[in-house]
Subunit: 679 residues, 2 copies
């Protein structure tokens, strides 16, 4: 077989595996795999990876931003000998299979990031490329290159329409990420039909405006050579990411090619047969992999394993020549944090002055950054408000800009919260133990909701530094004051949402966030000053909730978070004057508290005592831990913070009055802890 023939046969194999998988599931998307198989084949043939070590740090990354085309990706993973097999393709989209309906990083060996929600993948790819640049600039030496991989992404029209992709792409252009190569599947079809109905902008001109390099392939359905040349061309770019436009026909080869009909529904049986016949396959056979195609891919894997082994030899030499950096890389690849890093966490006593938790957060970031090189972050254009930058630290910027360099650890995200969230996921997905954070106002983490939920689903240990966390931000008013925000994020599985009440709790929040390996964290922080609490400690707070003021046989328990804890402490003192014994519980993180033993939790929120929650935002969800809720189930207002707290009665008097009513209401009633449940 000639090389051209075998390549064509390989492409047909990919196409038919995808078509057969969708047909077997009677569900899925055959259209994009048919159009994109040639590009996938050509790209993967020149990619650097080892199917037996899918976490190799210098592998090329591939992101399928149009995740619905996953039958394509799964077919590639099977053919390139990952731990995914034809038997898995036969279980496509079935419960418990390794081939779910969209690529899931935790379920499928070889998938780099979970995709499906459109626009996320390309933004993840920007994060992967940022991480690579940062890693390479930190560790490569003039004589030894440790990191030089590329990040590739496929994306469809839908990804390009989503704002999150625009945000990330604009930043990628600014950052001159020439290690990023994206392929746009320009098939002129989306679910509503022709892209002409809503999307006739000039994508190429837009990406040029972002500062991208452009390469176009007009016949990407079958011109493998043109695709290969496009990749070569893209790799010549010294200072720009590249967008390769692939003009394709959706559902190429199908009787319904070029129509929306092939996008999201299986091909008809007859159609599949004519495809197989046309491409020289047995029309009666499904999931066929011709031996020569299998061998062809095997030979590529063998070459790649040589590349992989060479890299390990290089890394060995590196470790010998540069023992300090080598050890640091090894530590990071082992997923370990530097010895003793926790000792750097600031600790406070009640004698210390009142400080805003955003300022305390700055203290933690400044303390940890010099010790943990993989602790990097930035802000969505709110640096002076979020206090996320270590004084004197270097920006992550293209060196030619004169504004920083690629070893810099502070990322200027611009006003792009959603892009930032998705990029953060990409940085985490790079590996090498990156613990990356991003700052914005708590209210605007909501702009990134799509990315936050994927952090949680994908187990990315990223951290949001979410300042200005309540009406306590004051004059900016209700457009900026979170009400529903904590409820929203607390309801997301596998997401830690801290709202520390003082310095020790702020340190505990970062301790939790930096130690995390499989969940993201949001840290909600105040603009206003808070006192250092008697009885708080990093250790106590690290349980997610603990008793701050403990009475023998209390009449009521006040459970609060963040800025309302100190108010509740004062309320407890007022109540004592009235002869009411009020315990105060600080509950900075539901997620962490929920993980404690039942006995511990019940010791904090026991049977027999009415419990009232206090938090200056939506009470939604607080009934999980309390019988009564004092909160703000309306939008806030514009005014000075102390006046707002007074107006809404979040004062020692306001809390004490409600606690007294709670005591009165439950007098004579049998009270059970809300933690006691039937199942």
């Amino acid at each position: 077989m000639t090389s051209a023939t075998i390549d064509q046969k390989a492409v047909s194999t990919i196409r038919l595996l995808a078509v057969d998988a969708v047909a077997a599931a009677n569900s899925g998307h055959p259209g994009a795999p048919l159009g994109l198989a040639p590009a996938a084949h050509v790209l993967w043939k020149q990619m650097k990876f080892n199917p037996r070590d899918t976490k190799w740090v210098n592998r090329d990354r591939f992101v399928l931003s149009n995740g619905h085309a996953c039958a394509l990706l799964y077919s590639l993973l099977v053919l390139f000998k990952f731990d995914l097999h034809v038997s898995d393709l036969k279980q496509f989209r079935q419960l418990g299979s390794k081939t779910p309906g969209h690529p899931e990083v935790l379920d499928v060996p070889g998938v780099e990031v979970t995709t499906g929600p459109l626009g996320q993948g390309i933004a993840n790819a920007v994060g992967l490329a940022i991480a690579q640049k940062q890693f390479a600039a930190t560790y490569n030496k003039p004589d030894i290159t440790i990191s030089d991989n590329y990040t590739y992404a496929f994306l469809g029209d839908g990804c390009l329409m989503e704002g999150v992709s625009g945000e990330a792409s604009s930043l990628a252009g600014h950052l001159k990420l020439n290690n990023l190569i994206a392929f746009w599947d320009d098939n002129k079809i989306s679910i509503d039909g022709s892209t002409e109905v809503s999307f006739d902008e000039d994508v190429i001109a837009r990406y040029r405006a972002y500062g991208w390099n452009i390469v176009e392939v007009e016949d990407a359905d079958d011109n493998l050579e043109a695709i290969a040349n496009a990749i070569v061309e893209a790799k010549k770019s010294k200072d720009k990411p590249t967008l390769i436009k692939l003009v394709t026909i959706i559902g190429y080869g199908s009787l319904a090619q070029g129509t929306h009909g092939v996008h999201g529904s299986p091909l008809k049986a007859d159609d599949i047969k004519q495809l197989k016949t046309k491409w020289g396959f047995n029309p009666e056979e499904s999931f066929a992999i011709p031996q020569e195609v299998s061998d062809y891919y095997s030979s590529h894997v063998q070459e790649n394993i040589k590349v992989y082994n060479d890299w390990h030899a290089t890394f060995k030499a590196y470790k010998e020549k540069y023992p300090k950096e080598g050890a640091e890389i090894q530590r990071r690849l082992d997923g370990k944090l530097p010895e003793g890093w926790k000792d750097a966490l600031p600790r406070f006593t009640p004698a210390d002055k009142a400080v805003a938790t955003r300022k305390l957060s700055e203290g933690v970031i400044s303390a940890l950054s010099p010790i943990i090189p993989e602790f990097i972050g930035g802000s969505a254009d709110l640096t002076p408000s979020n206090l996320t930058k270590v004084a004197g630290s270097i920006d992550f910027q293209p060196p030619s800009s004169g504004l920083g360099d690629y070893a810099g650890r502070y990322i200027r995200y611009g006003v792009r919260e959603h892009g930032m969230g998705a990029i953060m996921n990409g940085i985490a997905a790079f590996g090498a133990n990156y613990k990356n954070y991003g700052g914005t106002f708590l209210n605007f983490v909501s702009y990134a909701a799509g990315a936050v939920r994927l952090s949680a689903l994908s187990h990315h240990p990223v951290t949001w530094v979410a300042t200005h966390d309540s009406i306590g931000l004051g004059e900016d008013g209700p457009t900026h004051q979170p009400i529903e925000t904590l409820a929203h994020f607390r309801a997301i599985p596998n997401l830690s949402v801290w709202r520390p009440a003082d310095g020790n709790e702020t340190s505990a929040a970062y301790l939790s966030a930096v130690e995390a390996t499989s969940h993201p964290t949001i840290i909600a922080l105040t603009r206003q000053n808070l006192p250092q609490l008697e009885g708080s400690s990093i250790e106590a707070a690290s349980k997610g909730g603990y008793t701050l003021i403990k009475n023998d046989k209390p009449d009521v328990i006040i459970v609060a978070s963040g800025s309302e804890v100190a108010i509740s402490v004062d309320a407890s003192k007022k109540l004592a004057e009235e002869g009411i014994k009020a315990n105060v519980v600080s509950l900075p993180d539901f997620f962490t508290f929920d993980k404690q033993s039942f006995d511990y939790k019940l010791s904090v929120l026991p049977d027999g005592v009415p419990i009232m929650s206090v938090e200056v935002m939506s009470t939604f969800g607080w009934s999980k831990y309390s019988h009564e809720q004092f909160g703000l189930n309306r939008f806030g207002a514009s005014g000075k913070a102390p006046e707002l707290y007074k107006y809404f009665e979040f004062t020692p008097e306001g809390v004490a009055g409600r606690a007294a009513k709670t005591v009165q209401f439950y007098k004579g009633k049998t009270v059970y802890s809300p933690l006691n449940t039937a199942f």
Copy 2:
């Protein structure tokens, strides 16, 4: 005084009012007002509006997308004689004032839309322009023009960085909205300093790529004539929205002009004094409005009132010549729906077949659309999945496209959920009783969280048709299956979140949504079929929650929503076989239920009976109405819907088993309704 001199004096007055307001508050943003005052002055001088009738349908709309510059807008409103006064400026950003920290449509006479969260305003402006085109195309006659207003927007660099603005702008270009003129404050500064640190894309080229007309003013700080000419030029555009680039100096005139220092902090006292002296004002006087400036603006108001009166004369003639359309316009301006529209709502009996609520939603939309001309909507590229389009209806498209016309009522939003949400707000803000809806999967409403919260805050009666509302969507898997979504939106104040269980409840949801005048609605709808329930009705469901199966002295109450109601009904039958009497409550909308009388609510969820909630997603918040919660506090999975329901035990057996455990657990305990609270 020459015209040039008085204009300059007027501009200085605007600038100084803004500076004084920020100084009085000791909080706010003087930088953008100083830079943008000339453009604001020139623009407003030629705008059409009546400060005494701020809801006039043919007024020009002005949107301050960079809402933090609101001191500018408030100064304009004072000078142009709206019901806002210098006394209000003196209360800038104070609690209870008419001059909050960002423009709030409900608080400030003359503010069109609430802005502040960046990127929203320009997208609202696209919605305002769409509504104008649609209204004009529907009612203008060859001989009488009823609607021809423009929509203007100011936006800053921050707005341009946000993805939502890109989404909306791309669509605006596609739709050829030449009635939209946006002004970009190109001052090269954002909060992190120079825009060079993160935003050096070619904005002009990007907007050209979107299909916009571009006009540039290089000296917009003081060249009033150039600004005026730019507007004239923009208005010549026949088929494109226009972006006018205004090169300005942030904080123009200040000693710190051109730096980030003037963005978000008051100017120093000395700086203010030198400004006043430089511009011929008394440095010791604050909030000065020279008499000649006041008179100058008054004369503009007088001219505008003539324009306003002329329009009313035209409308009178229109009503005489076109009585049918005239009456319809009048009805819409009066905020009334057509007589008898509710009769069109489909009703069902248990004999009717099982249907997916998304399909039932299609039935409602198809029934209401012919009757209610202001009921318009679209989908974010999921039309065949959301079922949001009436068969045979016309697309809202530029006529030159051949794809529809501007009187069309179906909007092809593309894959742009956040843009869609913000555009929906703009359409609602146009007035004329528009009741507009947008479709996407429930999970992707989260992409638009920033816009949804502003709908609720601003009281926009928009509707999200949110299909595929649970793991019941099946194979698409966890990236598409909502878990936290309903909790998130239920925690937003003033937002109605329906999850109907059958056809009658779906009709009730639309009844509520279309009647709404001051709150938005999300309707969560299934992909899978649901039976028509015995005991459901539009009237019962319209209470937000009601008892579907009622026993004398029940042992347990099962409260459920949407697809879990029928399962709970079956569970109740199983429990009856075991001798357990289980009431079933359907609770399709928390927001509506909460508004019912306490007695009614307590009749549904009474004291003395343990209550268990059933909903196949996060239980977060359900403890508000129940003692025990059965839900899904983890991400879903990819598989066939019935298999997922079985796997997660959302079956009659799974529900009945937990209900039986609930009965057992509460046996002998005194149980109070969760509705009973201490305060």
